[in-house]
Amino acid sequence: MDESELVMHGLRAMLEPHSAVITVVPHRPDGPAPLSDLTLYEPSAHRRATGARAVPQRFPTRMVAFGWDCSPEAVSTEMSRGAAGFVSKWLPARRLIWNLLQIAEGRVVVDAWNGQPEDAGRPKADKWPLTHRETEVLSMIASGLANREIAERTNLSINSVKSYIRGAYAKIEVTSRSQAVLWAIQHGLLVSGESDVEGPRTVKQAVRA
């Protein structure tokens, strides 16, 4: 969606030999949504559409950021918006397909390779350490919500919320809420102006939808 003809045709030609496992279906924002497992979107198109300041958008589930800008800031911005994953437009076909299949199976994958040669020992795809729910709960923690408020907004039980908090803390290796808030800010989970009773609307919507 919101893509140039060059990318659309290029992507279709690139994936055509792998049509047994993946099919590209065009989708225009003003048209009806086709049936699909994942929807790729260009992050910068959203930024253009919403002005200079990156205003979070409400995404349905299984939206995958597919962009040229693979900076940590770009990745964390899209993940905090609730993207199911982030894949670089620099990726070769096989690696792109592998990542998309992983995401389609429910894994959170961030592959922000920028086309530059990689170190031999460096993993090819960095996984976002948190699940959608953990990301969602952590962003709400960072915006100052109480566990009960998080439970109400996510339709989770209190024990589930606490379980996600413990899981997130363990994965990002923090032991206190203040450290978790710092991590959330450093990874783009707390967008300016969201630290109020409203909470992080985007992430919530993305997971719920």
């Binding site: 960072a142 915006s143 100052g144 566990n147 009960r148 809420r177 203040s178 710092l182 450093q186 630290s195």
Partner: protein, 222 residues
């Protein structure tokens, strides 16, 4: 026994890195306490590091968190002036019971020590005066407490109930401070420990409470 409503609220908010299920822990302690001392009508567990108290009460036994003590200390002072001579132990105990919380006639506080450091206080409350007599050793063994630290009848006024009632507000304030500390750490580029010190110093210099400084920090930095 039932959880005090404020303890339920505090348990919902409290996330312990080390204890997965604090309510489960309370229920285990309740089970041991009631087996060892059937007259046990209330218990409180205080997490000393967090200064948080959770309380279970047996409302059927007449211990009700909403009821005031049988006689408040202040009322006692006006209505029945204290004698000006030192009380012996028996008289002190009688006086303490007069001021005791309704339904509570004896108490024992059992500290739990880990690696030489007290981490928990378990306070048990009974409806009869000698409920804990000759039973402390059994309780200490069952609860893994420190026998030498056990203190009897030191909380006949059920002070841990007041502390448990204050727990939700304490957690709300802590949440406010924690978020502010994270924001300050990100904004100034320091660790959360250093940010905590900065917040405390700012509050002291401004002559305000830490939570007030935290509110200002959140307003400015969020």
């Amino acid at each position: 026994m039932e959880l005090l409503p404020q303890s339920r609220e505090a348990l919902d908010e409290y996330v312990a890195p080390s204890i997965d299920d604090v309510e489960g822990l309370l229920r285990v302690i309740e089970g041991w306490a009631v087996r060892a001392v059937p007259e046990c009508v209330a218990l409180s567990v205080t997490l000393l590091d967090e200064d948080l108290t959770f309380t279970l009460v047996d409302t059927a036994a007449g211990v009700d968190g909403s009821r005031p003590p049988a006689r408040q200390a202040g009322e006692q002072h006006h209505a029945d002036p204290e004698p000006d001579y030192a009380l012996d132990e028996g008289e002190w105990a009688d006086m303490a019971r007069e001021r005791a919380f309704e339904g509570i006639a004896s108490t024992v506080c059992l500290p739990v020590v880990e690696e030489g450091r007290a981490v928990l206080n378990i306070d048990l409350y009974a409806s009869t005066a000698h409920a804990f007599h000759d039973r402390i050793e059994e309780l200490v063994a069952a609860l893994g407490a420190w026998q030498a630290g056990a203190v009897t009848n030191a909380d006949l006024g059920f002070d841990t109930l007041r502390r448990a009632e204050a727990a939700p507000e304490r957690l709300r304030e802590q949440r406010l401070v924690d978020v502010a500390v994270g924001l300050i750490a990100a904004s100034v580029g320091v660790t959360t420990d250093d940010a905590e010190v900065l917040l405390r110093q700012a509050a002291e210099q401004a002559g305000i409470l830490e939570r007030q400084a935290a509110s200002v920090a959140r307003w400015l930095l969020a």
